[in-house]
């Protein structure tokens, strides 16, 4: 089971955090600091996996953003690497060539997409079509207010 997923920039700014195990805020901050440091210190050609405490860290960099997952000892590293990739594909399809800025400004969407894909640290739905269908349906359910008035509301 995945324990958590962190997205952070090359500058070490955390862009998204998803925790599948209950931890205190303090502990979360400590883990984040430690891992961001560890991962950023690694060189490009290095292996995408490392042992950390009693967990395995699987990470991959996409442009300016690092995707970093912690999985348990018996979990499969390669499939986790592809979990990351599938999530990136989902974001990409939804936002249209996604970049870090999309995730900064639409972090809530990034969370919604992640929840459709992974739940409780396990893969829920791997079909790109089905995940995006669920998000699209949700988007269509938005209150029609903006569409009727087409006026930005502050």
């Amino acid at each position: 089971m995945m324990q958590f997923m962190l997205l952070f920039s090359r500058q070490g700014k955390l862009r998204l955090q998803k925790w599948y195990v209950p931890l205190s805020d303090k502990e979360k901050k400590k883990i984040t600091r430690e891992l961001v440091q560890t991962v950023l210190a690694r060189k490009p050609k290095m292996c995408s996996f490392l042992e950390w405490r009693d967990l395995k860290i699987v990470y991959k960099r996409y442009a300016s953003l690092y995707f970093c997952c912690a999985i348990e000892d018996q979990d499969n590293e390669l499939i986790t690497l592809e979990i990351i990739h599938r999530y990136v594909e989902l974001l990409d399809k939804y936002f249209g060539s996604v970049c870090e800025l999309d995730i900064i400004f639409n972090f809530e969407k990034a969370y919604f997409i992640l929840d459709e894909f992974l739940l409780g640290g396990e893969v829920q739905e791997t079909s790109k079509k089905n995940v995006l269908k669920a998000i699209e349906q949700a988007d269509l359910l938005q209150e029609p207010r903006h569409e009727y008035f087409n006026v930005p509301v502050y």
Binding site: P22, E77, Y111, E143
Partner: protein
């Protein structure tokens, strides 16, 4: 995509995010955030009711601020309100805020649960999914209590949408992992297994995770899933690369589902049914065959997905460990990966091969890759890959290749990363000992270790070489000669001085015939290092010197002069001073015969397991060194009987399965055990380390049996015991006790009349605690009122280590005094004892009860007999903060009832004390008087003693 998808038109949010991004400094950012927080706060507090949209926007801003790393202490109520919005995006943001921010703040959870319940029963699949996601994300016990019974129904209902089933399966998994007791097993479990046959691949994908977890807990009940999983897997692996449409990932059919199915099968032994087994073996072969086919795509995703399935297949083959043919094929496949250009694959292949090395069927096949692995150790640029290579070399080592592997590891040690040096040292030491054919090689290897990486050679390692040299007389002369040579190096590591000092003190006579290493030369060589060494080493050298007086009477005068020097006799360190004084006296007054007896050569050490192996296991966790356990172990004698002159080098050993110490096994048992430490001899008194006990798992050792009668006499609780107890009346975790040696932490949970408590004993010193023995006693009548079952803890607690003890508690009937916890151990030879009151008070079995004002007053009146009421008026000891007071009352276990007392300043609560024999309903009222800084507390229960006791306990809290 719908045009509205991006940002939902929450322009205010986008503007805020841009502002933050434009901040030039951390200070500017904080300033901007504080401005925004003030704005939001005023909007939330304002008179004007906010519309849903604004609420959503502000909650979203708060969330953003939180995700930036700032604390958010308001807005929760607004988020909860959003849950009941009928607009989807508002609801969605409300849920998101809760998922990210809520920890189980009890009041809030109740409100959230209300919103969740509405959506869960709404029959609108989109809303249901949101609710299920929220439960899975929060996953708290409170949520489990509210929903664990409903979700199985949703999961197996015929009319549930596929997406709802998927969410329900994983939601249930989360709840089951968090609190298995809350998920009722029942008719649904059989139907869950059949979800493996579901037409919707997504449903199967989600369900397999749940089923795997259930199988681990109840393998027998779910056995039918094996054949279903095999047939599902078979259909996937044999399908063409496009059959599964959107579930095909870069030409690999359903890789996630395949991996999950293979994981599920690893919960079981190979299928017994021949047909099922045949089909499964076919699947595994297909996967291995496909690995040899040319790739269908050059993309790394294709290769990763394909290999993910392959590695999981290999894991299953290793798990079965029964198909030699498949094991060897797996090994060959991994062998190809060892030289793959992808670092990831090399890493995984090394890791996976480690487990293959432990199978008798594939051990030889793994060994054929030794050169590749050694090369990896030398050339890999990534330390984590090198670490894997070192692990694999260790795992594949046997008598045939030990010399090669040990010498390669020694060479690697010279340049190894600091992070892994200690581990490599331990591995080399273990391999050298285990596979030593001649002991001169072993001694050379360990001395090399000290030379190359002296700082990383732990005590266990050099203790061990002393034990082995002491026990084998064929290597003693060689050892003496080698250490003598090693000590001649101008700069040698202090560990070398320790080993050299000890060995020359015992066996220096074996090389004394050579004029180059005559007794005076040996002595002056050792003494030339003396002044640069630490106290511990100097103490050891003093012992060597007194042994020299016995071995070489001609050195007596020189050595006595050294002992007599002011720097020894008046040394500030008490240990050194005492040794100098006593050795000097001993050498002056004892006759040669007495000296010869007291300072006789050490007897052989009793056979025991290698403390090095134990250390490696501690470092790597259980099972890490298992590949070296070959089952040929013998239980060593219960205790360390070396009460001799030298500091006993083995007290640090922790009992665990033994590494096979060649030859030693066959060595005769020590002829005559030396005098026990308490024999009263001068030297023994000084140096006895009072080593202790046998392995905790092998029943009580003599020491423990000796202690157990004492357990009936728990001693008097320490003076602070009451104060410490009161700290835990309203909370369940924290530090129960702490002094300079020991810290005791506690964490407990109670449900109805049952409780579970975890005690954490931390050794704050750097010295091992021995005979460590915590016991729980029930003074007086408590025996018939409360049952506390304790689990055993290890008899030793290493310096800096923590051990955990689990207590199961059952309340039979109401009780007044808490059980006592007595902790006894020996620290540096001195017995320590400590008695505390265990934080189990009657209110821990309090169940909150909600009731309306009318019901409350009715019951209040019913309990109007004078003896049913207890009242106390007392001075406030803490600031009178209403939030703190509320938290304390809730922590105490009672429900807080609003709108009951006519005076809103007062607190009213209700609850039931649950015991096995009876339940006692309790009502309470707390009236603060801020002006006088006083409280009046009134308790009414159906039992006089309970009223009084609860009143006393609670009154201490304010």
């Amino acid at each position: 995509m719908p045009a509205v998808s991006k940002g939902d038109g929450m322009r205010g949010l986008a503007v805020f995010i841009s502002d933050i991004r434009n901040c030039k400094s951390k200070e500017a950012e904080i300033k901007r955030i504080n401005k925004e927080l003030a704005n939001i706060r005023s909007k939330f507090k304002g008179d004007k009711a906010l519309d849903g949209y604004s609420k959503k926007k502000y909650v979203c801003k708060l969330l953003f601020i939180f995700l930036l790393g700032h604390d958010i202490d308001f807005g929760h109520m607004e988020a909860v309100n959003l849950l009941s919005s009928n607009k989807y995006t508002e609801k969605q943001i409300g849920y998101l805020f809760i998922s990210v921010l809520v920890n189980s703040t009890s009041e809030l959870i109740r409100l959230i649960n209300n919103g969740v319940k509405n959506d869960l029963t709404s029959r609108n699949p989109t809303f249901m999914c949101l609710a299920l996601h929220c439960i899975a994300n929060v996953g708290s016990r409170e949520m489990g209590e509210a929903f664990a019974a409903d979700i199985p129904r949703i999961l197996v209902a015929g009319d549930s949408m596929d997406s709802v089933k998927q969410s329900a399966a994983l939601c249930l998994l989360r709840l089951y992992k968090a609190s298995p007791d809350l998920v009722p097993m029942g008719e649904w479990t059989a139907r869950v297994v059949h979800l493996l046959n579901d037409q919707h691949m997504g449903v199967v994908t989600a369900a397999v995770s749940l089923i795997t977890c259930l199988c681990k807990k109840n393998p027998e009940d779910f056995k039918t899933c094996v054949s279903l999983a095999v047939s599902r897997l078979s259909r996937i692996v044999s399908s063409a690369s496009t059959d599964l449409q959107d579930y095909t990932y870069y030409f690999v059919p359903a890789p996630w589902l395949s991996v999950k199915l293979l994981r599920l099968l690893q919960c079981y032994a190979p299928p017994e049914d021949a047909a099922v087994k045949g089909r499964l073996v076919e699947c595994l072969e297909t996967v291995l065959n496909k690995a040899q086919e040319p790739p269908k795509s050059k993309k790394v995703q294709h290769s990763n997905a394909k290999n993910a399935v392959l590695f999981e297949t290999i894991s299953l083959i290793i798990h079965y460990d029964s198909e030699p043919n498949l094991l060897v094929r797996a090994c060959n496949q991994l062998g190809q990966f060892l030289q793959h250009r992808e670092t990831n694959l090399r890493y995984l292949a090394l890791e996976s091969m480690c487990t293959l090395a432990s199978s008798e069927f594939s051990h030889e096949a793994v060994k054929t890759h030794i050169d590749t692995v050694i090369n990896a150790l030398k050339t890999e640029r990534d330390v984590s890959v090198r670490q894997r290579a070192a692990d694999l070399l260790y795992a594949m080592c046997d008598r045939s290749n030990a010399k090669q592997i040990v010498s390669e590891m020694l060479r690697y040690l010279e340049t190894a990363d600091y992070a892994i040096r200690e581990e490599i040292v331990l591995k080399v030491a273990i391999l050298a000992e285990k596979y030593a054919v001649d002991y001169s090689w072993y001694v050379d290897t360990i001395l090399n270790l000290i030379r190359i990486a002296g700082d990383y050679v732990s005590e266990e390692v050099w203790y061990r070489v002393l034990q082995i040299v002491t026990n084998r007389d064929d290597v003693q002369g060689y050892a003496a000669k080698t250490v003598f040579e090693a000590l001649q190096a101008p700069a040698c590591h202090e560990n070398m001085v320790k080993v050299g000092g000890y060995i020359l003190g015992e066996f220096g006579n074996l090389i004394a015939g050579d004029p180059r290493s005559s007794p005076p030369v040996q002595f002056s060589l050792l003494h030339s290092k003396f002044h640069l060494c630490s106290v511990a080493t100097r103490a050891l050298l003093l012992s060597t010197y007194i042994k020299f007086i016995n071995l070489f009477p001609e050195t007596k005068a020189t050595i006595q002069a050294v002992l007599r020097a002011g720097s020894q006799l008046r040394n500030a360190d008490v240990e050194l001073q005492q040794r100098a004084v006593e050795y000097l006296t001993l050498s002056s007054i004892a006759s040669t015969d007495v000296l010869a007896t007291v300072l006789e050569e050490m007897p052989p050490f009793p056979e025991r397991e290698s403390s090095i192996l134990a250390k490696l296991k501690r470092k790597k966790g259980p099972g890490a060194a298992s590949t070296l356990d070959d089952g040929r172990r013998e239980p060593g004698p219960g205790g360390d009987v070396n009460g001799g002159v030298e500091p006993a080098p083995s007290t640090g050993s922790t009992p665990s399965p033994s590494a096979d110490l060649l030859g030693l096994r066959a060595a005769p048992p020590p002829a005559a055990p030396p005098a026990p430490p308490s024999a009263g001899s001068l030297l023994v008194d000084v140096f006895s380390d009072s080593p202790t006990g046998g392995p905790p798992s092998l029943g009580p050792s003599p020491e423990e049996a000796f202690l157990s009668p004492a357990a009936e006499d728990p001693g008097i609780p320490i003076p602070e015991a009451d104060e410490l107890l009161h700290k835990f009346v309203c909370k369940n975790s924290g530090v129960l006790f702490e002094n300079a040696l020991l810290q005791i932490g506690v964490k407990s949970e109670f449900r109805q009349n049952l409780g579970r408590m975890y005690l954490f004993y931390g050794n704050k010193t750097s010295v091992q605690f021995q005979n460590f023995c915590p016991t729980v006693t029930h003074p007086g009548d408590l025996q018939s009122q409360l049952v506390v079952q304790t689990k055993r803890v290890p008899g030793q607690v290493d310096g800096g280590a923590q051990v955990q003890q689990v207590l199961n508690i059952e309340c039979l009937r109401d009780f007044l005094t808490p059980p006592l916890l007595t902790v006894r151990f020996r620290y540096g030879g001195a017995p320590q004892a400590l008695t505390l009151k265990l934080p189990v008070t009657i209110n821990k079995f309090f169940q909150p009860t909600e009731m309306a004002a009318q019901a409350f007053f009715q019951r209040w009146k019913q309990l109007s007999l004078p003896q049913q009421e207890a009242q106390k008026i007392f001075q406030a000891n803490h600031p009178m903060d209403s939030e703190v007071t509320k938290a304390k009352l809730l922590g105490f276990g009672s429900a807080l009832l609003d709108n009951v007392d006519p005076n809103p300043e007062n607190y009213v609560g209700a609850g039931i004390v649950q015991t096995k024999a009876l339940q006692v309903g309790c009502l309470l009222r707390l009236e603060p008087n801020a002006q006088a800084q006083m409280y009046r507390l009134t308790l009414r229960t159906s039992k006089e003693s309970v009223s009084r006791h609860l009143c006393e306990l609670l009154a201490e809290q304010f």
